[in-house]
Amino acid sequence: MSEAEIRAAVIGVLRSIAPEMEEEAIAPDRPLRDQIDLDSMDWLNVIVALHERLNVEIPESDYARLTTLDAVVAYIGARRPA
């Protein structure tokens, strides 16, 4: 799965939680949760959906690393089975 494909999948997950989100308005290097107003329940749902759709294990201790869209895409790219 290419980086572009992972990014598209992440966007798809975010859109399923925050349907009103505008992809173009997201700055990929700025904190994600603030930009699309995700509370902790939304965030947990995002992580569960990423786990299910992209087949990655995400321990809770790693949540702090998933700050920006770029960081999420990089994290998943590194964790996905090759």
Partner: protein
């Protein structure tokens, strides 16, 4: 004969529009059945019935907007037949001649119908009838002047306006009628955080818990210790509730918020509470809540800290008598013995009704939440 009325759907919802009947004449219903879907300003609500019987007649038509208390349908009680049953009088929600509650405006049915047909916003119509009632003529006056404020207001997304008005009306009533007092307490969260991290480490992803669930459970249990925080103030007296139906403030993505109940929150294990919360948030955002969830809360928790504030001083949602607020959980300076250390803490606040309790009892309530959060494994 049983008169099925539109139940109260919370302090900020005093009318609803029938979207759909889920029953038809001849159907048998039992307690807890969803019989209708009613649109309020905030959500489509599945209205449940709490009596048993056979549907006799549907009185309100889909599309009709009706105030709380309106008889929507007639049912035959078990054992009754259409011949033996006594048809109740379909009294108006507010008896003629009686002053309508201040939050409601008197609007003649013809005026209401006409306003709806013309797309005139009734809130902007000045009433000139008896007791300030809005008459047909008042509605026509506004509709003849397209520059009237009612017309301009229609251009702003109507639903958002309605939500803001409904919340404004309920909160004004709360601030006007309830003598609030406010307390706050900083609670150390090291034990709860460590316990939760360990717990989530061993749970598969979809079963992980949120800290919010621990805060909700501790608040519900504290109601058992200090029952003056849990119940309703009605007809001049505080009526405590044996069950804790915990209202949870949930922000709606398109604006506004709802605070539906998680039933019997004090009795439910954390995992079950988490499922309940997750389901409630999902349904609140999708706009499909049940009438009992809207009208039942006996106390509310606002976990606004989740999005970043230090502390929240909330307004009580009538007829409840208390609301608990939690701020952001973050490392802060903490005195441990004679050392100053960085510890995760949360500022818990209580807004409570002086008609039901005093600050002393309120302080005990917050202290109890603190105590419970220091033994998370027991929650």
């Amino acid at each position: 004969m049983i008169a099925f009325k539109l139940p109260s759907l919370g302090a900020d919802m005093d009318e609803g529009k029938l979207l759909e009947w889920k029953i038809k004449p001849g159907d048998r219903v039992k307690r807890g059945d969803v019989v209708a879907v009613v649109d309020t300003t905030k959500a489509a609500v599945e209205v449940e019935i709490w009596e048993e019987g056979t549907v006799h007649e549907l009185i309100v038509e889909p599309g009709e907007k009706i105030p709380v208390g309106t008889v929507m349908a007639l049912l035959l009680a078990p054992g009754e037949t259409a011949q033996t049953a006594v048809r109740p009088q379909l009294a108006p929600a507010f008896p003629a001649g009686a002053a309508a509650p201040s939050a409601r405006r008197r609007i003649s049915p013809a005026a209401r119908k006409h306003a709806e047909a013309l797309g005139v916003n009734l809130d902007s119509v000045e009433g000139t009838g008896p007791g300030g009632a809005v008459t047909l003529e008042d509605v026509e006056k506004v509709s003849r002047h397209p520059s009237a404020p009612g017309q301009a207001a229609e251009e702003i997304p109507h639903r958002n306006l309605e939500i803001r008005r409904a919340i404004g009306a309920a909160m004004s009533r709360s601030k006007r009628e309830i003598p609030h007092y406010y307390l706050s307490e900083t609670i150390p969260m090291l034990r709860a955080s460590e316990w939760l991290a360990r717990e989530n480490d061993r749970r598969p992803l979809p079963e992980r818990l949120l800290m919010a669930v621990l805060l909700l459970k501790a608040s519900a249990l504290a109601c058992k210790a200090v029952p003056e925080m849990n119940g309703h103030y009605r007809d001049g007296a505080f009526r405590p509730s044996a069950a804790v139906h915990l209202g949870v403030a949930i922000s709606l993505r398109r604006g506004g918020l709802v605070a539906p109940a998680i039933h019997d929150a004090a009795e439910r294990p954390l995992a079950d509470l988490m499922k309940g919360l997750s389901d409630l948030v999902k349904r609140a955002r999708a706009g499909s809540l049940k009438s009992s969830e809207m009208s039942d809360p006996t106390i509310t928790v606002s976990n606004l800290g989740d999005t970043g504030v230090e502390a929240t001083f909330a307004i009580i949602y009538p007829p409840q008598v208390a609301i608990v607020g939690f701020g952001r959980i973050a490392p802060r300076p903490w005195v441990d013995g004679d050392a100053l250390v960085a510890r995760p803490t949360v500022v818990a606040t209580l807004s409570a009704d002086h008609r039901a309790s005093d600050g002393h009892r309120g302080a005990l309530f917050l202290a109890e939440i603190n105590r419970l959060l220091q033994a998370p494994e027991a929650l």
